[in-house]
């Protein structure tokens, strides 16, 4: 049995905390980093539940600033 | 006689209107495109181009735009892409173009605008005038800028100034204008048309215009044609750079002509068609024993201020004869700086004065002074 496992890398300096990725993610991977802002003063997101990521790239596709890079790999269970 | 005819045949002497000469000259100087809108008294420019079909010979684009606003923005686009492009219009249409001209000055792109002036203000009349002198030389749009302005007074100069205007525009990356009027646009004279110059290749354009937005090459950064800069410190530098450029143009590009000034006591300053009338006026004046001479600015901007200041020394007075309510006279007054009396003569509403009127003005306004 194999399944897809994904991982995202968020450019937190570029992120503006708009949360559209959070809405787009089917797996509840992403959340706003709590009580943190980046160098521009924006709150930003992080993969809070990274294990759930399947690498669908929905987050990256909807991101208006192109902050998210997505990786995906087939892993054997 | 036969040899003379052969020479003139080779030189292609033709009889045509000033407007037509602009069209022929544009094709021959290798212009890449004309974008314009009909308006009296200059629609022959576009009509002549349409008849000549240069898109089939030199590949020059000719497009009737939907308005003068669209026309000047097409010039902006083409010039910003490194191409030799021109438009033509008359006073009310040129008023519409002022935004685009200011953008071109701000973005530092070279294009040519021909204004065949008519009476105003507003819709005005279709008869000739010279009442756009301010609009042309004061930067009729917004901001601190100038337009290199050439004032032809013959059909020959209409033909010759097209290439000259392009040369100056590209040399300084600034819009240039041929400020003509309905007399010169519509009158027919002999003209020797320039030799056909080939249109520049892409390689030549990239070399002449490395700043142009025409599609990148991998060896350079992207180009952006824009007049926008929101950081004041940077914008100040941009403007200072423009001012330095204008100072250089003022230094190097003044053009003028004089006639019979060597022994003149009175100087008549005239440009464009008024200067042709003034030539005759001087002839008439001299017949009456009045020593008048002509100073004809050819570049209205840069204005020949130093040359006028020099030449009025020892004169009894200056009469500025222009077909408007008094526009160039202000620049003449600034140049003369109080050294001698300066008076203005003009007609309005599209009326073109007779030479006798200029002679009378000279007598009444200057010679009867104590």
């Amino acid at each position: 049995m194999s399944k897809m496992k994904g991982a995202i890398v968020v450019n937190t300096d570029r992120c503006k905390g708009c949360q559209l990725c959070i809405v787009a993610c089917p797996q509840d991977v992403i959340a706003l980093a709590q009580k943190k802002v980046n160098v521009h003063g924006y709150p930003y997101v992080e993969p809070a539940n990274a294990d759930k990521c399947v690498g669908c790239a929905s987050c990256a596709v909807v991101c208006p600033d192109g902050c998210i890079t997505v990786y995906r790999k087939k892993v054997e269970e | 006689m036969a040899e003379q005819n052969n020479k003139t045949n080779q030189q292609e002497v033709k009889l045509m209107k000033g407007n037509e000469a602009i069209a022929h000259a544009a094709i021959r100087c290798g212009a890449d495109g004309y974008f314009g809108y009909p308006i009296t008294p200059q629609s022959e420019v576009l009509e002549t181009l349409a008849v000549l079909k240069p898109w089939e010979t030199t590949g020059m684009v000719v497009l009737q735009a939907e308005s003068e606003v669209a026309s000047i923005n097409m010039i902006y686009g083409g010039a910003g892409a490194g191409k030799r492009v021109l438009t033509s219009s008359s006073s009310p249409g040129v008023a519409l173009m002022q935004e685009g001209i200011a953008y071109m000055a701000g973005a530092e792109i070279p294009g040519l605008i021909v204004n065949v002036q008519r009476g105003g203000p507003g819709l005005g009349t279709i008869q000739p005038s010279q009442s756009d002198y301010f609009q042309a030389t004061r930067g009729g749009g917004n901001g601190d800028y100038y337009v290199i302005t050439l004032a032809p007074n013959s059909v020959q100069e209409m033909a010759d100034f097209v290439d000259l205007a392009f040369e100056l525009a590209f040399k300084y990356r600034n819009p240039a204008m041929i400020l003509s009027d309905g007399v010169i646009g519509q009158m027919m004279e002999k003209v020797v048309l320039p030799e056909q110059k080939p249109r520049r290749t892409e390689e030549e354009i990239r070399k002449e215009c490395p700043w142009a937005s025409m599609g990148r090459t991998p060896d350079r950064d992207p180009n952006v044609i824009t007049s926008l800069e929101l950081k004041p410190e940077v914008m100040e530098q941009r403007n200072l750079h423009l001012q330095a450029k204008y100072a250089e143009i003022k230094e190097k590009e003044v053009r003028f002509e004089t006639q019979q000034m060597e022994d003149a006591e009175y100087m008549i300053v005239s440009f464009g068609s008024a200067s042709r009338i003034a030539e005759k006026a001087i002839e008439l004046a001299r017949e009456e024993g009045i020593k008048a001479g002509l100073f004809r600015p050819i570049t209205l901007w840069p204005f020949p201020e130093k040359q006028i200041a020099e030449m009025v020394k020892g004169k009894k007075g200056v009469l500025v004869a222009e077909i408007n309510a008094g526009q160039m006279v202000e620049d003449v007054r600034l140049s003369v700086n109080g050294a001698v009396p300066v008076e203005h003569f003009g007609r309005l509403g599209g009326i073109v004065p007779d030479p006798e009127e200029i002679v009378n003005a000279l007598k009444e306004k200057l010679m009867s002074r104590k």
Binding site: A7, S58, V61, R72, K73 | V61, V69, G77
Partner: protein
Amino acid sequence: MENNIISPENLVYKKPTLMNDTPMHYCPGCSHGVVHKLVAEVIEEMGMMNKAVGVSPVGCAVFAYRYLDIDWSEAAHGRAPAVATAIKRLWPDRLVFTYQGDGDLACIGTAETIHALNRGENITIIFINNAIYGMTGGQMAPTTLLGQKTATCPYGRTPELHGYPLKMTEIAAQLEGTCYVTRQSVESVGSIRKAKKAIRKAFEASMQGKGSSLVEIVSTCNSGWKLSPVKANEWMKEHMFEFYQKGDLKDTTEL
């Protein structure tokens, strides 16, 4: 575990290279960013980075030229189609497109939009319609909906005072010069995929000399609408899509 997934051979998606690293000035959640990404991706996929010339508007996207590494010409308000007309006619092998907002395209630039489209200029006009003037602080746009509140219609747009919203895309579909006229959006993965296809089709059509294309993207302006980005998308789906119906209004490209 995560570490051996994050590795170049597993790359699925990243920001297109043509979109540089300059932080974009758009508000968080602004649709402009997504459309910029799509334009960059399409140009890259077509291999046209060195042939593309973009014409940017006056509006929030005036600085589009900072973010996509192609040659740009910044046009006066509304005049982009005229600027693009000249560039394309003078350099016929270039990929020429305009990128304009609703005020630029449907208000001050109405004549230039209609005439360039009607002449069938081989350009693409990308129309970002968010029913408001974002850059200048949220004033009414020609596409503002009846009842919608903006800075210059604070009690809601009414026909008596303000006239009706204008559907430029429907007008464009009736012009003979157009070959492809479509209305899309970019709020979901599915709609983004369609919007990208639309942009690609329009760009291809212009390179094949098939005429003019208009790609409208119904968009959000969360700042102007005074909603969060997420809520703005919801408002758009609920109100804008009803009036500005998505889909292809005209397609004679055979692409």
